[in-house]
Structures are given as C-alpha cells and as structure tokens.
Symmetry: C3
Subunit: 278 residues, 3 copies
C-alpha cells in the first residue's frame, strides 16, 4: 500500500486537512495517508524544509510527500514534482526542494502541467492530490509535465569555520516541542574539525565542555537511585537523533517549567559557537 504524507501549515482546527484527505481517498482508496505536520508556521519555508528533511528518510521507497506550504501557483512559484532518493516530493518552487536536496541532483524534476485547469487557491487539494494519486497508481512523471531545471535556490544557513579552524559558528535552525535548540552544526563537522582537541560550546553565556550522545548520559547510574540528585532541568549539549548539535534541558517541559529556549533566552536564528582548544 503506497504511503502519501502531508506536511502543511493548515493547522488542525479548520476543514482544510480533511478536505485534502477526502480528495485523495476520492481518487485512490488503497493508500495510507500519514500526517507529518500541519503546524508549520504559516508560509515558513525553512521550517517546512527542516521537518520534511528529517522525516522523509524514515519512510519506505516510493513514498509520496505532499508539501502544502506557500503552494499557490504563480509564474515564479511553479508546481513541481521531484523524484529524489526513490521518494516523490510534490511542492511549489518556493525554495523547499533546494534545501531538501542540498545540491544533490534529483533523479527527476518535473513542472506539473496536467490538471492546469483546476488551478485555484487550494492547490494541494486540486493539483497535488491528483498528482499523488497518479503516482500511487503507478503513473509516470513524464505524463504530468515537462522537465524543469530552475529550482529556486534557497539554502539553509551553513556553519562558519574560522580560518585557523579553532571556532565553528553555527545557528539555531529549529526549536522543538520540548524547547530544545537544534543547531546546524553536525556531528560529522565537529568530528572533522576537532582533531583530538578539547571542546567548548557557548550558547548565550552558558558554556558546555562536553557533547553527550544521549540525554541519560548526564546521570551517574553508579550511584543508587535513591541517593541521586535530580538532574531534571539540567542544561546539556548533545548530538540529537539527526546527529545535529542540540542544546537541551534534561527532561524539560517547555509549557510548564520552561525549556532550553526560554531559560537560556535563545531563539531561532541565534548563534552558538564551538571552540576547539589545544
């Protein structure tokens, strides 16, 4: 059974998500529809790209991803379908796909011109759903449109490394439900630059000397449980499940006691530095 995922900024209160699912099932009943997120901040291209980029890799080959963010057609926001790493992405030419592919050439990229007459202000329903069902039925991309090679270039901010390779300056690219701060500094980059040196991470005045591999690593399990001081709320740096440097609070609860974002006073777009010391 083919999987069609949805990533949108529609929210969950209105009828829009239901309408989109109804349109898909009206054409093709034999699919699983999976919500990735409907709570992308309205029109936020970078956030949508971050979410889909971290989600798609866990889906099987042949999965079809509908991205309903900033999707209204215009002459410079064409409707596209891309085959990339054996999965399909249906999205407007709004910058999301170039962030997603990170300079890697997709297997196929097509501008949708089928269903043109259905163009309206709900394209995910009137165009994208139909393209998804066409693919789910085994249809090919060349029937849907013509090859396209003008992908709008929007790139994520990449970390900056100083010339003598002693400092990486990264950026907070996402704040998750727990208030944890996810940076654009990958484990691979740190390991490449580190070269046996000590590390010092600075996040708005707070300094971390160690990057953990799991949240629980800050607990000393050799001390019997009844004697351990609680570590809840303790600040820490770690590599997260996407192998990105993350600043977190141990077992934080953003909406009650606060999370890393609120307690450290850091926000999307702020900088984090990693210093390497001999």
């Amino acid at each position: 059974m083919t999987i069609i995922t949805l990533t949108t900024d529609y929210g969950l209160k209105d009828h829009y998500v239901g309408v989109l699912k109804g349109a898909i099932y009206s054409e093709q009943k034999d699919v699983h529809i999976v919500d990735i997120s409907h709570q992308i901040n309205p029109f936020n291209i970078n956030q949508a790209a971050y979410i889909i980029q971290n989600a798609y890799q866990s889906f099987p080959k042949g999965t079809i991803h509908i991205i309903g963010v900033s999707a209204e057609w215009s002459i410079d926001n064409q409707h596209l379908v891309m085959l990339f790493k054996d999965q399909y992405f249906i999205c407007a030419n709004n910058g999301i796909l170039s962030i997603l592919t990170e300079n890697i050439l997709p297997e196929s990229l097509v501008e949708i011109n089928a269903f043109e007459s259905d163009k309206d202000n709900f394209p995910a329903k009137s165009i994208f759903a139909k393209v998804a069902c066409h693919i789910a039925r085994g249809g090919t991309l060349d029937v849907i449109g013509k090859p396209f090679n003008q992908l709008k270039e929007t790139r994520n901010i990449t970390p900056i490394i100083n010339t003598n390779k002693t400092i990486i300056t990264g950026t907070i690219i996402y704040i998750d439900h727990f208030g944890n701060l996810i940076t654009n500094i990958s484990k691979a980059l740190i390991q490449k630059i580190k070269n046996g040196r000590a590390i010092e991470i600075t996040a708005r005045g707070t300094v971390f000397k160690k990057i953990h591999n799991s949240y629980n690593e800050i607990i000393n399990y050799e001390i019997p449980k009844e004697n351990r001081a609680t570590k809840d709320g303790e600040k820490m740096a770690l590599y997260n499940s996407n192998n990105l440097l993350e600043i977190a609070l141990y077992k934080s609860d953003l909406f009650n006691e606060g999370g890393a974002s609120t307690l450290l006073g850091l926000n999307y777009g702020n900088q984090i530095t990693v210093k390497f010391k001999d």
Copy 2:
C-alpha cells in the same frame, strides 16, 4: 474501503478520540478513519456545521461522517442518521444537520433506536461508532431506527440585501487558522446583485475596491522579482476555495505577526458590507 470521518470538540490531548477509533476498529477493521477536526469550540454548533459542510463535499459517495459535538442524548436531542447527497451523517438533533442541508430534503433521515441500551455520556463511542460500522458493513438505515421529520431548525445567518439592491450586509461566520475572515456572502450572490456596477467592501473602516480570485493576484509578476516590494501582510478581499467572500492578509501568520482578525479588529459575528455603485 469505506471512509469514516470524525468531527468533534474533544481536543487532541485526552483519550477520547483514541477511544472512539478503538471502538470503530473493534467492530470493523476494514475502514479508513479520517479526522476532520477535533478542535471545534466546545458545543459550538455553528462552527461544527461550517467545518463539516465545507469538508464533506471532497469525500467519495458512501462516506460516513460521525459528528461528536453536543451529542448527549435527551428527549429533544435525539440521535439521528441522515443520508444526504449519497453520504451518511451521524449526529444528534442539535441543529447541525439543518444548517448542513440548507432546506434541501435529505434522501433519508432516521432516529436511531438500535443500541438504545448502550446510551451513556459518550454516545459517539457507544452509539455512533456502532451505527457507522453497521453502515460500513452494508447495513440499511431502516434496521437502525424509524423515519424522523423533526429536524431542529437552526439556520446560519444569511446576508441581508437592502430593498434597492445597493448594499449586501454579511456576517463573519468563521475565522481560520491564518486569521482570515470568512463571510457568509457567496460569489454567486455578489454576481447576481452586481449587474456591472463597481464594488466597495467595508470591513470595520477598511475599504476594498476589488475582490481577487487568488491570493497571488495582488502581486505584479511583470516586475522582476528582485524589484518587487513585498506584499506580505497586505489586506485583501478574495473569493476563497469555498467561493465565499474572505478578508485576508497576504501570507499572514496569525500567531506571530497577526492575521486579518487581529489587525482589523474583527471577530466572529461582526458585519461586512458590500456596496454596489453605478
């Protein structure tokens, strides 16, 4: 595979939606369950009617809609199942169905008296789920109850047209996730009254001279992209995907910069006028 949709005011935190789905799958595994919304304001009949009315039309024939809003049984809030435009609606007699049908006679309307002994304070689970599964198995309505003809009459407020047909006074009937204001004035009504005249829409002091057909219509694509001033946040009037007059902000973000509702200071129930000028 039959589709069963859910429209409720249960929210997504509690176990209620899960319980309802469990009850359905316990009886009938071979169905798709689709959430339309679980964030209807508690007991808000008009909002529920608006959502289901705009959602059901995208679903295939034979879809079964469970409406779990203000559904507790009483002698004047009977449990009903309606066949309307080839789809099934299971709902209490609380006014939603009469808004939905808009004076059109349904194909069938039955008061549920099967499963009477299961009546409790979670009727969507103990009654509606069973009725839905009965229908999904191909069961007929006459087995479930007896014909009913006392649909509670709750109507949406309809626009008022003055006697010399120069002004339509409409009402904001819904505010969506983007903060856009949806009125009860349809494209068909405006086109009927307009008769070649100019138009002037007033929404609490803000005046619009044009109704767009898409959000992007306010952008001048003849100017090269790098020279265009941003239109983000610009106020506009348009016909939305349901062909209703909508007051919107171009690419608005209600929870950050604010939407049409917050910036124009307009709310559910407020009035919008459309003047026609020779």
Copy 3:
C-alpha cells in the same frame, strides 16, 4: 489488520510522530496506526498512564500500544514489552506499566534485548517500532527478550477512607480538554461505602448533593424548551464515561468562558471529599 497505537509526549509540530510512523510502515505496511495522544505533558508518567489506561480497553485483542514517554534506555529504565489482557504494551520501565496493571499480573512481561545495537535517543523509532512490527507479523515475545519481573512500582494515589467510613478523600488525577476535573474516586467505591446514606461532595468550597449519571440529567425536560432557563456553565458532579467521579460545568468551554478547573480554582493533585450522612 493489526492496530498499532501511539501515546507520546512529542507534540504535533515536529517531525517525530511522522518519523515513528514512517519507521513502522517501512517494516510493515499492513497495519492501522492510531494516535491516542501526542500531547502528554513532557515526561509525565501519571498522565500517560491515565490516558493509555482509559483508552486501551476500547481496542480489539491483539492491539499493540507504543508508549513513547520517558523512554530513553538506562540501566534502570529498561525497554519492556508486556502482554496484558490480550493486548501488547511497549514501554520503558518508568512506572507507567505498574499503574496500568494495578497489581494484576500480566500474561507476559519481557525485557527487550533484540535491536540492542540500535539503541539511541529516539527509542520509540529505533526499538519500539521494530518490536511492534515483529509482533504484528505474528512473532513471539520470547524471541525479543527475556522474562522480566522488576516492574518499577509507581502507583496512582488511591482515595483514603476514614476509619468510621464517613468520608472518602480523593484526588484530582486529570483535567480534560473541557476543563472537567476527574477524580480517582470510582462509582464502585462510592456505592460500596454509601450504604443508603446521603452524599455530600466538597470541591474547594463548592458542595454537591447529587452525583448525576449524565450531563443532561440536570435539565428538566418536562418544562417546554422555550421556558427552560439555560443550565450552560452550571456546576455538577457526575460519574463519567470511565465511571469515575467528575466535577464538571454543564457545556463548559475551557478556553473561552472557562471550565470547572479555572472557575472552581482546582488543579491536578487537589483534593475532593465525599461525605456520607445518615
């Protein structure tokens, strides 16, 4: 088709829920995935236990429940799979399972040691999803791990009955989406202690003399509808759909007019007393 349910504290904005579903469908396409809740307060064991305890009973035999709350592996937070009342529960040894089983011995309880090498900081994806798919394919628990008998004992607070059986002191264990206050005092307990006596419930100064069986019971349907005063917002005590004593407002709307929690000034963990009077 096997059902796999998800109960987590991931929220719905991030990619985590999508990733988990992708991991499941990558291994096993022929399952229904049902969201029970993704809005458990972060790391809140008692809330997660309450939700899953009230949800699982409506699911069919053989259902597999993944509980992604406080699930990171440690030497005292082992990964477990439990067969209990013909359903499977995959959860860390964090106290949730002992609340769920309430001293009843499960049919089977196994510490997961398959997939050990996949241990990371997203165990619901890298371990629990695989265990769930193994079970969905008909696999047995003995292949996954070894019998376990050190379930972490976390108990829900139980009501206290005074020695001469005139007062039950209970606790608010959950506040739902409507703002209704759910206590740990069951209908069965009250009926056992009552012994024909009158009842008086005190909730922070508000006194109730009657426990209703439905919300609508406070309406006098003998009065014609047009003459009835509204009861909306009226305080009441009732047995809820899980047969627990609940303090509610009739047709309350927590986020607009307020609910029982805000209007009575009562919160999670506060006490409610039931007095019995000759």
